[in-house]
Amino acid sequence: MKANEAMDAFQTVESVARASYGRLVAYLSSRSHNLAEAEDALSEAFVAALETWTRNGVPQKPEAWLLTAARHKLIDGSRAAKVRTDSLSTLRIIAKEAQEISQLGTFPDERLKLLFICAHPAIDAAAHTPLMLQTVLGLDAARIASAFLVAPKTMGQRLVRAKAKIRDAGIAFEVPELSELPTRLGAVMEAIYAAYGTAWEEVSGADPRRRNLSNEAIWLANVLVHLMPEEAEARGLLALLLHCEARRKARRSPEGNYIPLSEQDVLLWNSSMVEAAEQELAIASLSKSLGRFQLEAAIQSVHAQRAVTGQTHWEAIALLYEALVRLAPTLGAIVGQAAATAQVYGSASGLAVLDSIALEQAAITYQPYWAVRAHLLAELGNSQESQAAYIRAIGLSEDKQVRQFLIKQSLLRSS
């Protein structure tokens, strides 16, 4: 074996894994109805591929090779476990299909079914996103755990439990019926959105959780649009993520300091991503079915206009937030509405929006709420309450740079 051949095989395995992992898992599990088994079989197939391909060279149809190998592992596993004969016959069907596929070189894309399974209402909502990241993208549990601030052991158990539930409860590997589709699709999109982060940076001082999963989330949103091209909200979601991602570079100074949206250098925004986002939003608007994600994307689109006009059209943003809060009154949306209202109608009106939120547990620890509150109180000359709110926002910050930014703001406005 030559070193470069080994390298070749390794790279092929890696790139096939990246591009096809979800498709392979989806295909195998939609037939065997056992997600954990399909993943195990596939990971063994990948290991076998590394050994065989470095020895014999990369096969012409690597995906088909992996599928055939995984199917062998599945059948071996079932024999060892002495499973019921009917599931063995299912496996025979898979085997036969896999045979045909390895001749054709292509196989059906069942990822949509997999996405719907991952966000099924019978599965613990906290497991939706992690399950998607693991089964569709092949991320390992430890990385997912870190991104979600959960102990690795807990995350591992959550994933195992969710997969056992899918198997034992016989959750169907199907695209839901039309009557169910809106709610089920909503859950799929929520899960993808949660992979990106929870707080948006247009709320002054908000700290977007640095989950490092932004690429994965955009990938998933892309997959969803690809699989359901008629769904306006799926495009809205993709547009939203692209708009936010486009500003990544502008969010930090070269020294690493946090820069709020209003002070970002628009030249640092990724214009091709902004363009792609606008395109998705334009196609979505043709279907005339407005939804939460399209509204959120539209808000970001108005912000993005600053690159062209040099101004932020706050009236439009305030209107969009009003519609958003009516449709989906999340804490983030209401805080965003407060900030936009303050821009258009003055700080007192913005503060009134914040005061309308009952201070339940969620708001008590929601950093953007306190950051916006501190800012508005300072604008109104209420220095004492403003400082208290700043301290609260600083204490609730996760991001060091955001914390420094708020400390500076509070010092500037302490007199």
Binding site: L149, A151, I391, I394, G395, E398
Partner: protein
Amino acid sequence: MQYMIMNYEDDAAFSARTDEQKSSAYWGAWAAYAQALKESGVMVSGNGLQPPHAGTTLRLRDGKPSIQDGPYADTKEQLGGYFIIEVADLDTALDWAARCPAAADGSVEIRPVLVMS
């Protein structure tokens, strides 16, 4: 459930405590964090500790005391303080640990308090 949040800080953080340029940001962050714990109703107790060089370590071996200046182990990060919080579960404790200023530069260990029955 009660958890102890242990803050491990490096030399730079310990010296920021008394640095003219950095001390206000350093203490501001800690004071705000403690305040947020208190006002959210999760704080049980907590203390900052003086830097590791102020520590003294004692061992009794075969009845003979051995006393040594400094912390029990010379590691890059040293215990700089702790909080005990009362929260529902580890997930919530981790949310609070992520906001702890030591998480960004040093590390934070979260351990459940042992309940004696």
